[in-house]
Amino acid sequence: HAKSALSLGIVLEPPHLDPTAGAAAAIDEVTYANVFEGLTRIGPNGEVLPALAKSWEISEDGLTYTFELQDGVTFHDGTPFSAEDVKFSLDRARAEDSTNAQKPLFAAISAVNVADEDTVQVTLSEPVGSFLFNLGWGDAVIVSKESAAGNKTNPIGTGPFKFDRWIKGQEISLDRYEGYWGTPVALEEASFKVIADPNAAFAAMMSGDVDAFPNFPAPETLIQFEADPRFKVAVGSTEGETILAMNNESGPLSNKLVRQAISHAVNKQALIDGAMFGRGTPIGSHFAPHHPAYEDLTGTYTFDPEKAKELLKEAGYAEGFTATLKLPPPQYARRGGELIRSDLQKVGINLEIVPLEWAQWLSEVFREKNYDFTIVSHTEPMDIGIYARDDYYFNYKNPAFDDIITQLNRETDEEKRYALMKQAQEMIAADAVNVFLFQLGKAGVWDANLQGLWVNSPIQANDITGVSWKN
């Protein structure tokens, strides 16, 4: 008879299991779509799909959204789901004392009204082009008033799986929720095993201790899985634009010529090969290649050390300079850092590598902006808007760009939105705000008999609702 259990490897253990109260992607990796659902959800290719909202209507001015809710939905503790829960959840997320990590997603909401048992009306203060997408984030899932407080340790949602138990530092297991409102899932139980060490991940996969590793942490080992018929390797894309971020206000880096020189000096293909073992797509701006509005700008700064030297000379740094490169823990950063250091050394720029933990990176680089260079992957979907943020850690200041983003936020027309997006991509590429390295690849490895796992990662989630074993 068919297998009905799945054990799935994840790299980071979630700190807790409440997606509405933490930024950790690991929370979504376990709970998204499996345990919790929102009004909308994001599909395997980044599309917005209905979830707890059966359908919706948007007013002409784009300010009022009316959601029709699904019937017969219950939370895992048996309490029925209603429009009240939607109002509670959205109000809670945007409240003054909310600890929602993505509070800005709800910033435009001015009111949430319960029209009747199955209808909710959300009013915005200004049009938000991506509002339906935003509601599909894990941070916007619907929780019940009764159980919201306990969700960190005992998550209670409306999804097809209910929380079973959590062995801290080891695994989280889910059981099928028999009272699920939608299509029943094939799996009876699923466990998410935390395996941080790439080598341990490799060993676990090879020895069959886990069935699937949707986000496999050791790209260099993939060839071995590819060569082994027991496994299937699925290479897809993520929303992670990996950049060599530069502090646009620090010394030589405030000079555009220098930044351009650096963009020319970095050998991106070698970086992808060396650091990611080929798993990654070159990008020319801060935009995901699989997005319809993507514009290929990879030719803007070709790898050309000579050109780089010239530009440096022109900028008055013929002798080069010394700077720090602060690296967060992920391997793409640590490995990429070594390669970039070597590339820049060849044009006279000496980098001192300073490895940091996330906590330190967040305070030193992200908050205090006390850095010259750093490497990081921005994994939020559609986040080019960060270049318009005041006081963001790039220290990029360009009023023209801010304008474009303001317009983009107001615009609901698809065509026009895409045009604006392209304009934005071009602008930051021209300014060489950062060196745009590559779109982080997603490599999943799983048992060849397993089907229904996501290949791409439009959001960081492991949606296993469609997973089943082949007979």
């Binding site: 080598n199 490799f202 060396g274 823990p329 390669l339 250091r341 300073v354």
Partner: protein, 285 residues
Amino acid sequence: MDTFEAPIHPFRRAWKSRSFLIGLCLASLILIAGFISLFWTPHAIDSLNVANRLQASSSQHWLGTDQYGRDILSMLMIGARTSIIVALIAVGIGLLFGVPLGLLAATKRGLVEEAVMRTNDLIFAFPAILSAILITALLGPGAVNAVIAIGIFNIPVFARVARGGALSLSGRDFLLAARLSGKSGLRITLEHVLPNIANLLIVQATIQLSLGILAEAGLSYLGLGPQPPLASWGRMLNEAQTMMAFAPQLALYPGLAIVVSVLGFNLLGDGLRDLLDPRLRRRIR
């Protein structure tokens, strides 16, 4: 029992001690490799060339190249230098702080001794690796901080050895004779005690050196040791692990280098102990 024997030149006997000889060979191999790397390595390791990666041994690259196209032999040589320097300075820290503290405890006794020994206990009570992780979290990873993290744990070790040695000397009449000569405590410590416990300290230093190399490898393995472009065996091992199936040499060589150097200094320490520590000679009685 004659704990502190004559300074007969023990090195004449050295040639007869097998562990001393093997240890000396292995340790010198590592030391020399590290020393040469100061001036010369077969290839530069701070210039990466991905196109050149994972090559097998050749006349160009004797031990092949790593995932970034660096020459492994050159990496190993610089790794030798890194771990020896880290371990040496850590031993230096231990000697510099530990020995005076231990001697102070032995000569002053009473409250001072109590304080020194309790501080020792306190340091020992902290699980070493975790404390090293805390220290590097505090100061950031890097060679200097690895030195500090390892060095701190050397202090109580040397303090203990120095105190023990000094205490076993304390009944000896030549110290009384020196006091009768009107010499101050400090002077007696410097002129009589220190030279007489030098053997013990040298032996301990060799052993701490090998432990230091192991500790440095462990820290680097966790990513808390010296950072690139410096090569470090522990980090090489860590990076090589996942490539074991198709590039086993990457994990093999640094692993061997660690084993060889730890083994070398350990044997050297053992050999020295045989030669210098009269406790063993007592058995010849």
